[in-house]
Amino acid sequence: MKENKVKLAKYLKEHFPAIIEKDYNYNRIDFSINRELVPSVLRLLKEESGYIHLSHISCVDWLEEEEFELVFIIWSPVDKIKILIHTRIDRNNPVMDNIDKIWRQANTYEREIKEMYGIEFTGLEAADEFLLEDWNGMPPMRRDFDTAAYASNKYYNRPGREDAMDVREEIARHSGEEIPDFAKKYSR
């Protein structure tokens, strides 16, 4: 495992000098690279090193740094190593290269990220709507989207939802029942 990881890091360093490596215990190794080189790295790993399985594409919102971080998680069934490829893109102009020519299933993840974070993937072939219907406005998984304010604005908040209220007596009165003596001590 360890020598495989060292070999892999050396191999990637040869091809992409800009790549930054971060080693973890067990079977995980991380690499960071700028966004233009991500498709080349993924294609190299898939076709030359046997990392044929795309586990996931994840997105992290770095609001304070005005950046999005995309994480591509790939796996080799031979080496049993999980590689995470990190890349940062500009938050104000979020554009990323489409990788669904390398893995077809990337299309699904990209559509989800497009909808939930508003990241454009160049040349992504997809229908307009995936998970959300009739959504116009800020993508909901961005950190500056205020979900509580949105919900209280759009949906009806039933009164009585305030926390730590003792509704025991009201319920008993409503249904015409009496609170038994042993239970009264639990009332506030």
Binding site: L132, E133, Y150, N157, R158
Partner: protein, 181 residues
């Protein structure tokens, strides 16, 4: 033949007696609550002794269970299902999420109060309600039917505009057919 009030009362009583003992539940689960339905229906709790059974399609069903949180996307389908059901029809709101949003009260895509969008006859509290609570809800509905108070469908027809306004408020692109009430 049965134009006078008293004989209509007797006919209603017989109708309600029959309806009460044959509640067909539409097999349509929203949210996580649907997992409580199999134990309720099968031999352990055996809801069939109360006359509660599953139905395959909306047109054959009497009872719509909204089992848990309802996203705006599902709400569209649920409204359509409800409007296809034939009279007599009843709705049970199942779990805290249908009452006030439950743990999803601040979610951007789940509605908070079901009775703004569909007429609810009985609410079952709990997160999740156990099968005992579900059966208590069924018996409560049966009581209401006997008393002739489970009139959600009539209320829906009466206040259709109010319900439509609320529904269109959360479903901006309204593409559903307007049923002829």
């Amino acid at each position: 033949m049965i134009n006078d009030k008293n004989s209509q009362k007797i006919v209603d009583h017989i109708h309600n007696f029959a309806r009460k003992h044959s509640l067909w539940v539409l097999a349509y689960g929203t949210g996580c609550g649907a997992i409580e339905i199999p134990p309720t229906m099968t031999s352990r709790y055996d809801a069939e002794r109360l006359g509660v059974r599953g139905a395959a399609t909306p047109r054959q069903a009497d009872l719509l269970l909204i089992t848990g949180y309802l996203t705006t996307k599902t709400l569209k389908r649920v409204i359509r299902v409800y409007e296809q059901m034939q009279d007599p029809k009843y709705v049970i709101g199942f779990g805290s999420c249908t009452i006030n949003g439950g743990m999803y009260y601040d979610s951007y895509n789940t509605i908070n109060a079901l009775d703004r969008y569909l007429p609810v006859d009985v609410y079952i509290n709990g997160c999740m309600p156990r099968p005992e609570a579900v059966i208590a809800g069924f018996t409560k509905l049966q009581e209401l039917i006997t008393a002739g108070k489970a009139d959600g469908a009539a209320k829906y027809k009466e206040k259709l505009e109010w319900y439509r306004k609320n529904q269109k408020n959360v479903i901006p692109n309204w593409t559903m057919p307007e049923y002829n009430w």
